[in-house]
């Protein structure tokens, strides 16, 4: 970024709302090996009372650093090198006998108390945390203490306001109910592991509310959750905030989410604000290339909130006489855990086939059985019922050893490239491991093959000796794809291959997969919960719900005119539609034009 842009992006101060947070020229760096790497470089930002601000950017853009600065939770190696963060907290009669806020408070002449957060002592920050600024953390699965009851964890936040005794218990239930937790009495006595991810996120929202803050920071609040749960929770959070006049700062990498939820969208790149304004303006006339790229990459936004399938398959071509893999009437039954009698039907007579050179998608939420289906296709699990045939050969009931050679035709790409690569293997070792395992070629031919594969996934040959830690998420996923291609498979099973990646990187990986499919004639079985992503890569799709196939057919037919309520619900939950309706229709083509470049 050049210096000139800082003038362009000076914060538009709205005269209508009084600011709650004023950030001026904030610089934050992280000290590593005695050098300070800047993460936030000269950010000016204000958040008004009752305003919803969405901070968008890719990983490393500094969005979480800004959030952590506001709530005073920067890690030990972070240094605020310049700038100021002012928190304007109104005079609160209830605060009179409350703890902590008395330190370093000034009256700024308008009867308002102002606290400078930069350089403030821990005691001051602690007084602000929870009671002025609340936090809804990223991953609800790990955001709650596993060894304490839900009620106790909510009570802690309330007790800090000086509430005790029966009032405390009553307030715990009240906040849980407010956050949309069903049956609060029961939940308060339960432990986190007994709750679903969505419920845990609601509990965390309840904890954030419990301190009666003026600002809630939501750090990627729902990216770990199913789309429909995600939508319900964001709707709920937004409703609560609007109702009570709390300000909300949403941190997200997904411009679609930001556009849906924010009164104002702030786009960050490399620690600087690139652009900010109301979502309508940003989406209609993005001033910066970077913003345009983000818009193009967000599947929900690129086509004006519509899910536009990439491939239009005529209905008569949906069925295929000679699929690569065919799973017929597959059922899978698991015994219930522990001593419980009976069993759980994970899959109930689902039939799926993948045509040669095409992509078939399995869509559904957690517990829909899509991952079980993938595991059966790969041979990790045996179907309880039904038949599996690979390349015309019936492999139902055959063991792993018997089908090992056949399995060379099927390879798998995992969801999380941060976990699927051995951190001690170089890229070259990872890619050639399948060759070594099947004793194909010698050292020289394997290296040649690895170079060829790296070229296919658009990585330079010099990456052969790198370790995964030196690569970005997108690069790691490319390596994982190269490894899956090493044995020249016919079918590649893709288990949410882009859901752990930034939106703009997702786009590149999807592009790569489509490109490889065309060049190598690959077939894909693609598992995803994200319908917008599915529309970008798949020809046909099966929608699964609780182990049953709800509907299937070409992507255009299923997404265009869904016949089931469940599919419609999934489609409605795709973020970006609300924001996109604020877009003028005439701009739509321009945006798509950018998407192609």
């Amino acid at each position: 970024m050049t210096a000139g842009t800082s003038q362009l992006t000076s914060p538009p101060t709205s005269p209508l709302v009084s600011p709650l947070v004023t950030i001026r020229d904030l610089h934050v760096g992280y000290v590593r090996r005695r050098r300070t790497a800047p993460a936030v470089r000269g950010v000016d930002l204000s958040i008004g009372s009752g305003e919803i601000v969405a901070l968008v950017g890719e990983s490393g853009s500094g969005k979480s650093t800004i959030a952590n600065t506001i709530i005073g939770l920067l890690p030990d190696n972070a240094r605020v090198t310049a700038g100021s963060v002012l928190l304007h907290t109104g005079p609160d009669p209830e605060d009179a006998d409350g703890p902590a806020l008395d330190d370093r408070l000034d009256l700024d002449g308008h009867g308002r108390r102002t606290v400078e957060i930069v350089g403030a002592r821990e005691k001051v920050l602690r007084g602000l945390r929870g009671r002025v600024v609340g936090l809804v953390p990223q991953d609800p699965m790990v955001g709650l203490n596993p060894t304490r009851r839900i009620g106790g964890q909510v009570a802690e936040a309330i007790r800090l306001r000086g509430v005790s005794g029966d009032d405390l218990d009553a307030e715990v239930l009240e906040f849980l109910a407010q956050a949309g937790v069903d049956n609060p009495q029961l939940r308060a006595r339960q432990y986190p592991h007994e709750l679903s991810g969505g419920l845990r996120q609601r509990v965390l929202i309840g904890i954030a509310l419990a301190g009666r803050p003026r600002l809630i920071i939501a750090d990627e609040p729902t990216s770990a959750l199913d789309v429909t749960v995600q939508r319900r929770i964001l709707d709920h959070l937004e409703g609560l905030v609007r109702e009570s006049g709390i300000s909300l700062l949403i941190i997200t990498h997904d411009l679609a989410v930001a556009a849906d939820r924010g009164d104002r969208v702030v786009v960050l790149q490399d620690g600087e604000i690139v652009e900010q304004g109301p979502p309508g303006d940003i989406l209609v006339s993005p001033a910066q290339d970077y913003t345009r790229r983000l818009i193009a990459a967000a599947p929900g936004l690129a086509h004006g909130g519509q899910i536009v399938p990439r491939f239009q398959l005529p209905p008569e071509q949906v069925a295929t006489p000679d699929p690569v893999i065919r799973l017929e009437n597959v059922s899978k039954r698991y015994p219930l855990p522990g001593r419980q009698a009976g069993s759980f039907l994970a899959l109930d007579g689902v039939s799926v086939e993948v045509a040669r050179g095409r992509t078939h998608a399995l869509v559904g939420e957690s517990g829909s059985g899509k991952t079980t289906m993938l595991r059966i296709a790969f041979g990790f699990e045996q179907a309880t019922d039904g038949r599996v045939s690979l390349d015309g050969v019936d492999i139902t009931g055959l063991g792993w050893k018997q089908t090992r050679l056949l399995r060379r035709k099927v390879q798998l790409v995992h969801q999380n490239p941060y976990a699927s690569l051995d951190p001690r293997f170089t890229v070259g070792q990872s890619i050639t491991e399948p060759l070594v395992s099947f004793r194909i070629g010698d050292r020289r031919t394997r290296t040649a093959r690895a170079l060829e594969l790296l070229d296919q996934v658009a990585l330079p040959g010099s990456y052969l000796d790198r370790l995964p830690a030196e690569l970005s998420g997108g690069q790691r996923q490319r390596v994982a794809i190269a490894r899956a291609l090493a044995l020249s498979p016919e079918l590649v099973l893709l288990d949410e291959p882009v859901s752990a990646l930034d939106v703009s990187v997702q786009e590149q990986i999807l592009e790569l997969l489509t490109d490889l499919q065309e060049r190598l004639g690959l077939s894909y079985l693609f598992v995803s919960h994200d319908l917008a992503v599915v529309a970008r890569i798949s020809h046909t799709v099966s929608v699964l719900n609780r182990g049953r196939q709800v509907e299937s057919g070409s992507v255009a037919a299923v997404f265009g005119s869904p016949s089931s309520e469940y599919t419609r619900e999934l489609i409605d939950a795709v973020p970006g539609q609300r924001g996109a309706t604020r877009q003028a229709g005439s701009r739509d083509d321009d945006v798509r034009e950018v998407a192609r470049t």
């Binding site: 609340g134 964890q153 936040a157």
Partner: protein, 319 residues
């Protein structure tokens, strides 16, 4: 829950039986001639005996029966609290052990308590301390403490506290004063080991996202560490607790020898030197029983500290 408890009990019994069997096998099957060994321990030199005399001697100690027969009769005896007779001392093993048990139990309990308190305090202090040099010093301390051999520490303590300062008796089992140096010697090692594990587990725990949630509530540092950090950090350390208590028992052999304490450790040392198989077998089984018991207690404590254990971790689908 009952199923969990019964399962742990069954496991403990199996481990105990296995420990006994392995010890028996090692003592009876490995040495070249167990008969000569044991008769030698009783002061009978097998070379000078006529075959008849040898047979009588063997019959007297039950050594003429097949090994399996001996194994089962010994096991049967053990189950009834009959540990047989010591060969070198011509006394029932149970009486021998009973005489020597007191000082060792006192020492072991004192040392275990001391190492628990010291280890936990050190780990907690190290994680609470914010001044970097002090913190660094505290985190390095355990590896320092664990790297000295116990006999060296014992001699150092005797030199300093008994001979130079004259505060504590160098030997004997009389009074609490005689317990101080032996238990310090033992717990220096075990406390260091515990502190090392705890520190690492503390560091891990304090990096967990729920700690951020707790801090974001506005809780004080001490409250976050105590209520959210400590209990979770304790879980991995609990597992080595069994090993540590076992270690205090085995350390007793060295320490009781150095401090001339007439305890089980000293008895074990004497029995091994005299190749008194029944005594060694009984002591090893007793040590195994202590070990199994502590682990059983730990296993039963676990579900109280970690609610996830009994219900079994419900797997959360990743998709």
């Amino acid at each position: 829950m009952t199923r969990y408890i019964l399962g742990r009990f069954a496991q403990a019994l199996v481990v105990l039986w296995a420990a006994y069997t392995v010890t028996f096998a090692v003592l009876y099957l490995l040495p070249s001639d167990p008969v000569a060994l044991q008769l030698g321990a009783a002061g009978i030199e097998t070379d000078k005996l006529t075959p008849e005399q040898l047979n009588t001697a063997m019959a007297q100690y039950g050594l003429d029966r097949p090994v399996l027969n001996q194994y089962f009769s010994h096991l049967w005896g053990f189950l009834h609290g009959d540990f047989g007779d010591s060969i070198s001392k011509q006394q029932p093993v149970a009486d021998l052990i009973g005489d020597r048990l007191g000082p060792t139990v006192a020492l072991s309990i004192t040392a275990a308590t001391l190492s628990l308190v010291a280890g936990m305090a050190l780990a907690y202090l190290a994680s609470y301390m914010r001044w970097r040099p002090a913190r660094l010093f505290l985190t390095r301390l355990p590896s320092f403490g664990a790297s000295f051999p116990q006999f060296f520490i014992a001699l150092l303590l005797i030199q300093l506290l008994s001979f130079n300062l004259g505060w504590l008796p160098a030997t004997g089992v009389k009074g609490w004063k005689s317990l101080v140096m032996p238990s310090i010697t033992i717990s220096l090692l075990t406390a260091s080991m515990l502190a090392q594990v705890l520190m690492r587990s503390f560091d891990d725990t304090l990096r967990q996202p729920y700690i951020v949630t707790a801090r974001a509530k506005g809780l004080s540092r001490a409250a976050v560490q105590w209520r959210h950090g400590f209990r979770n950090a304790l879980l991995p350390a609990l597992t080595i607790l069994g090993v540590l208590v076992g270690l205090t028992v085995t350390s007793a052999i060295v320490v009781e020898t150095v401090f001339s304490r007439n305890g089980l450790g000293k008895l074990a040392q004497e029995a091994v030197l005299a190749q008194d198989v029944p005594v060694v077998l009984a002591i090893v089984s007793l040590a195994a029983a202590v070990f199994v018991f502590v682990n059983l207690v730990v296993d039963l404590l676990y579900p109280l500290l970690d609610p996830r254990i009994v219900q079994g971790r419900r797997k959360v689908a990743s998709s």
